[in-house]
């Protein structure tokens, strides 16, 4: 009773609103997974029913790819290869540059630093058409390596800013000791600094993984061959016309679920790191 009296009306309203909003936020995502285990007639006639016992037919069809033209693994592997390639290349190039800008007082370093800051303001849209023809000339259109190069470039400005800020606060004494002990500058970086900088490597990976996995604008323009396409293109390729006309609703839900699942697993495993990393990225 005593506790109840402390709960003012405002507090109750706040809790009710929060619970309601939590339901609004969460229900569509649960709905997506639930629906992916149902069959089309069930989806149309009883949208709220639980998909139990689960039907895996939609997953089997998506696995073979009878709506989108390619089996699921083709889209998944393309997405995964682009993601892994981009993150590795980004980590290497952005830490090297960030470290040099934090430590080196070489002639031209202020200009380089200024240039990277300016590149942070460039909207990707402006690059679409020139890159389309440029990649075409290089034979890198419909090519995973081409996408890796483009995505790495788009991720570089923010990643360098984050890396530089981190290395500025990294104690110089540790590297100086390594240099005195006969390490080369690169050796000090590679063998001493990098192993101690897992947190910044994680942050750079975190701020880039979500958008690279989800990217559609460039992928849609540069990857027209279906065997080179990524998961977001597969999701977008279902025509969301009138529901009754389309016979592949459950498959659409299945590929949506499969595209989302890796990121949700990633989120639940690293959730506090992810929220911290994204905050750092936003406030750079």
């Amino acid at each position: 009773m005593n506790r109840l009296r402390h709960l003012s009306l405002v507090k109750i309203i706040v809790v009710v609103v929060l619970v309601l909003w939590a339901i609004i936020e969460l229900y569509p995502i649960l709905f997506m997974f639930n629906t992916s285990f149902k069959l089309d007639p069930q989806i149309l006639n009883e949208p709220f029913s639980i998909g139990y016992p689960p039907s895996f037919e939609s997953y089997a069809r998506v696995w073979e790819g009878d709506q989108t033209g390619q089996p699921f693994l083709s889209y998944f592997m393309n997405s995964a290869i682009i993601l892994v390639g981009t993150i590795i290349l980004l980590l290497v190039t952005s830490t090297l540059a960030g470290y040099a800008l934090a430590r080196g007082r070489f002639p031209g370093s202020p200009w380089v630093q200024q240039g990277f800051l300016l590149s942070l303001a460039v909207p990707a849209h402006a690059l679409l058409i020139p890159l389309y023809f440029f990649l075409g000339n290089l034979g890198l259109r419909n090519n995973l390596l081409g996408m890796v190069m483009v995505y790495t470039t788009l991720g570089l400005p923010l990643s360098i800013v984050l890396a530089r800020a981190y290395f500025l606060s990294f104690p110089v004494e540790i590297e100086e000791q390594a240099l005195i002990d006969g390490c080369s500058q690169f050796g000090a970086f590679w063998r001493i600094v990098v192993p101690m900088s897992r947190s910044i490597l994680a942050t750079i990976a975190i701020v880039n993984i979500t958008w690279v996995w989800s990217e559609l604008f460039f992928a849609q323009a540069f990857l027209s061959d279906t065997d080179m396409q990524t998961l977001p293109i597969a999701v977008a390729s279902y025509r969301p016309a009138q529901m009754q006309a389309s016979a592949a609703i459950s498959q659409h839900f299945a590929i949506m679920a499969l595209t989302t699942l890796p990121l949700l697993i990633f989120y639940f495993v690293f959730q506090s790191h992810i929220r911290k990393g994204m905050t750092a990225g936003a406030l750079r």
Binding site: A22, V112, P130
Partner: protein, 316 residues
């Protein structure tokens, strides 16, 4: 470093007599390692960003369908943009979308952050849950909501009919008057968690002492929010708002998946307009002019924002 080198070289005049070429070579050799460190990043930025921007500026002055030779037309593309009602419509929708989506996500994010920072019941769960939709790819969010909002069999209208609210059931994405608002609603649904976690981190950075002093002074919860929390997180509030605006100006995926700019161009934005002009109408010169316009708008906002943020940081 340099002073000791000069001191150890008593024959100073010689170093003055080094030609500019020799001096450049020496500088390069001394700092070679740093130049090697920044080279990969600089190369990528130049090849895949700087050169394309210059190319876009140049393309915007041509008429070109991608196959036949380019025809130089000066500023004609830009003049055409000024009278193209579809471009002006897309520009208007983009600006409206950006402002409304930013107001929605940031206001909601702020309210959620303030509530959670005051340790309401289940605060740690909300923190995890409200960020969840941010992790879902926009393409999936769009495709999912198209299915939910489908007028005949969609989950929302089925729910409304079942709840006796038949009158509220709409053709959500088929009505030119409301489609853009629906897209803004979906954006708020997905992204309010983002300003929330950023503002929450800022609110939790407010020192215990300030909070305790406020408690001792006996301020009400409302005063605490309006007089302590919000003023103290104001810089972060401004930052996240500007970031949301910049992010929303680049919107593409949501319209691409949900409406393709329709019905009747009512949800066309700069991103989809650019894409259509380039890859469907093959007007690469004209589309480049759109890209240049976007570049100017977004680059200016971002650049001013960066300057202000740096000035503010310098003051702290």
């Amino acid at each position: 470093m340099t002073t000791t080198e000069v001191a150890s070289q008593p024959i100073a005049p010689y170093s003055n007599r080094l030609s500019w070429y020799q001096r450049l070579k020496k500088t390069l050799r001394d700092n070679l390692i740093w130049y090697l460190f920044v080279t990969p990043a600089i190369l990528l930025i130049i090849v895949f960003m700087v050169v394309p921007i210059i190319e876009a500026l140049s393309l915007a002055t041509y008429r070109w369908n991608g196959v036949r030779p380019r025809e130089f037309i000066g500023f004609e593309n830009f003049q055409d943009l000024g009278t193209d009602r579809f471009f002006l419509g897309a520009l208007q929708h983009t600006i409206f979308f950006s402002i409304a989506a930013t107001l929605g996500t940031v206001t909601l994010g702020l309210l959620l952050a303030v509530a959670i920072s005051r340790r309401v019941l289940g605060a740690s769960i909300y923190r995890v849950l409200f960020y969840l939709p941010v992790m879902v790819p926009i393409t999936v969010v769009g495709a999912l909501w198209v299915r939910i909002l489908e007028p005949n069999f969609g989950m929302l209208n089925t729910f409304l009919r079942g709840a006796g609210l038949e009158a509220l059931a709409e053709s959500w994405l088929g009505d030119a008057k409301i489609a853009l608002f629906v897209l803004i609603g979906v954006t708020i649904w997905q992204y309010s968690g983002f300003p929330m976690i950023v503002l929450l981190a800022a609110a939790e950075n407010i020192s215990e002492e300030v909070q305790e002093a406020a408690t001792l002074d006996g301020v009400s919860e409302w005063q605490r929010i309006t007089h302590i929390t919000i003023p103290l997180i104001r810089p972060v509030l401004i930052s996240i708002s500007v970031l949301q605006v910049i992010f929303s100006l680049k919107v593409f995926d949501l319209m691409w998946v949900m409406t393709r700019g329709g019905p009747g161009q009512s949800t066309d934005v700069l991103g989809t307009f650019l894409f259509d002009e380039a890859f469907f109408k093959r007007k690469y010169g004209y589309a480049s002019a759109v890209a240049v316009a976007m570049f100017v708008i977004i680059f200016t906002i971002t650049y001013i924002y960066q300057r202000i943020v740096r000035v503010e940081n310098a003051k702290l």
